[in-house]
């Protein structure tokens, strides 16, 4: 599988099928000379995203740079999720070192996305989602799978009761949500009986901490 970037120093973008900046979604390709000392490809992408040449990527710049396979911008909640994870010094911006982590994270997710988008539709349908979560070790009931698919489907068109596909940005967010809920539940379920006791404040905190 390939997540080719068309940018400087990168492999050519896969012809025909595929996405701006990588399979399923990713950065808009860039053209810029690599300065000495830095990974040239990474640096070229960094300065392409850092449009005002401030040396750091703002949330707005990140939002502008991240697009799905169909060129729709990443949804705000996914951009906020990424900022939360990678703005490790809480400066409100992404420096070059933080960008390296973000870059790898997105590339890894592109590979995951490409792997599970079996029918090469550019979105993840319910069966593909089931396969992905199953592989990650989450076995959700059919009812939950359907709720999840409805919640994260990217297309507003509804065809009967079937949920539509999930684009790259929302796929990442859906997977992070399932992981985070499951982790929180396990932390609360100290006696491992599958049930938790939780008060209102804890409950709201757990849910509203989700991306």
């Amino acid at each position: 599988m390939s997540y080719g970037y068309g940018g400087y120093g990168g492999p050519p973008a896969p012809p025909g099928y595929g996405a701006p900046g990588g399979y399923g979604g990713g950065f808009v390709p860039a053209h810029a000379p690599p300065p000495p000392g830095a990974d040239p490809q990474l640096w070229s992408h960094f300065i392409a995203v850092d449009q005002d040449r401030s040396g750091a990527i703002s949330a707005v710049e990140l939002e502008r740079a991240l697009v799905n396979g169909n060129w729709t911008p990443f949804d705000l909640d996914t951009v906020k999720l990424l900022m939360n994870i990678f703005d490790t010094d809480r400066s409100g911006t992404i420096g070059f070192n933080e960008f390296a982590g973000l870059w790898k994270y997105i590339k890894d997710w592109q590979n995951v996305f490409a792997h599970f988008d079996r029918d090469r539709s550019g979105t993840i349908d319910e069966q593909e989602m089931r396969n992905a979560l199953g592989q990650f070790g989450y076995n959700l009931s059919p009812q939950l799978m359907h709720l999840l698919q409805m919640k994260f489907a990217s297309d507003l068109r509804t065809t009967g009761r079937a949920a539509n596909g999930i684009s790259f940005d929302r796929f990442v967010r859906a997977c992070v949500v399932v992981k985070q809920i499951t982790d929180s539940f396990r932390r609360l379920d100290t006696d491992r009986d599958g049930w938790v006791q939780i008060n209102y404040d804890q409950f709201m905190h757990t849910v509203l901490s989700l991306p």
């Binding site: 703002s58 409100g92 509804t158 939780i198 209102y200 409950f203 709201m204 905190h205 509203l208």
Partner: protein, 214 residues
């Protein structure tokens, strides 16, 4: 401890005719005469229905709705809010909004506009942390300060930059935040049959509650 007995929005404003001129509105694309208003239809609501129904099919698709709904700062409503509205008002589940359904949607948005205007005290066009706290308190939710901070950050219309407060909450996300808090509180209360503020739930129930929020 929760005390959210009644959910927003409260309907103590007259409704129906505030179409535009406020911060959030249905975007008016085309000024055209639309024939065939159903008998008894509110002319203004019909007028807006026709304006949103850009292909004049007689019903509003989700895409038409998303194109029509804009925040005070000109941004489109976010996808999750549009999906929430479709889910609420596409009552016959045919994937589109007919005129009758639109009447309900119209009133709902108009009511929320009033709520938004009432709490946007500084007229900034977005709801900041203090305004959010006041709004949620007035709806009957007594949430802890850390929880309020979390909600402010989650629904802010951008990430928090540096050490300042997060950006304000735009109309679309404000409505979604309030509906989410109401939905979560209601489902918690349904489980809390002895009203002691604690519930016992399984993983399946927990996930169902969460994934049912908009």
């Amino acid at each position: 401890m929760y005390s959210g007995q009644s959910g927003p929005p409260r309907h103590h404003h007259s409704h129906g005719s505030h179409a535009s001129g406020h911060r959030t509105t249905v975007q008016h694309h085309h000024q055209h005469q639309q024939p065939g208003a159903p008998p008894g239809a509110d002319p203004q609501v019909w007028h807006w229905f026709a304006a949103v129904d850009t292909d004049r099919s007689g019903y509003i698709t989700a895409n038409e709705l998303q194109t029509a709904l804009i925040n005070g700062n000109g941004t489109r409503f976010d996808l999750d809010t549009v999906k929430m509205l479709m889910k609420m008002f596409d009552t016959d589940h045919n994937g589109t909004i007919g005129f009758q359904e639109f009447t309900g949607l119209w009133k709902y948005i108009a009511d929320w506009q009033q709520v938004f205007l009432r709490f946007d005290r500084d007229r900034s066009g977005s709801i900041d942390g203090r305004e959010l706290t006041e709004a949620l308190r007035s709806f009957g939710y007594n949430l802890s300060p850390p929880l309020l901070t979390l909600i402010e950050q989650k629904y802010a219309s951008g990430p928090t930059s540096g050490y300042g407060p997060p950006p304000g909450i735009t109309f679309d996300r404000f409505v979604r935040a309030c509906v989410t808090i109401k939905t979560l509180t209601d489902s918690f209360q349904r489980f809390d049959t002895d009203r002691d503020g604690w519930i016992q739930i399984s993983y399946e129930q927990f996930l169902t509650m969460i994934l049912s929020t908009p």
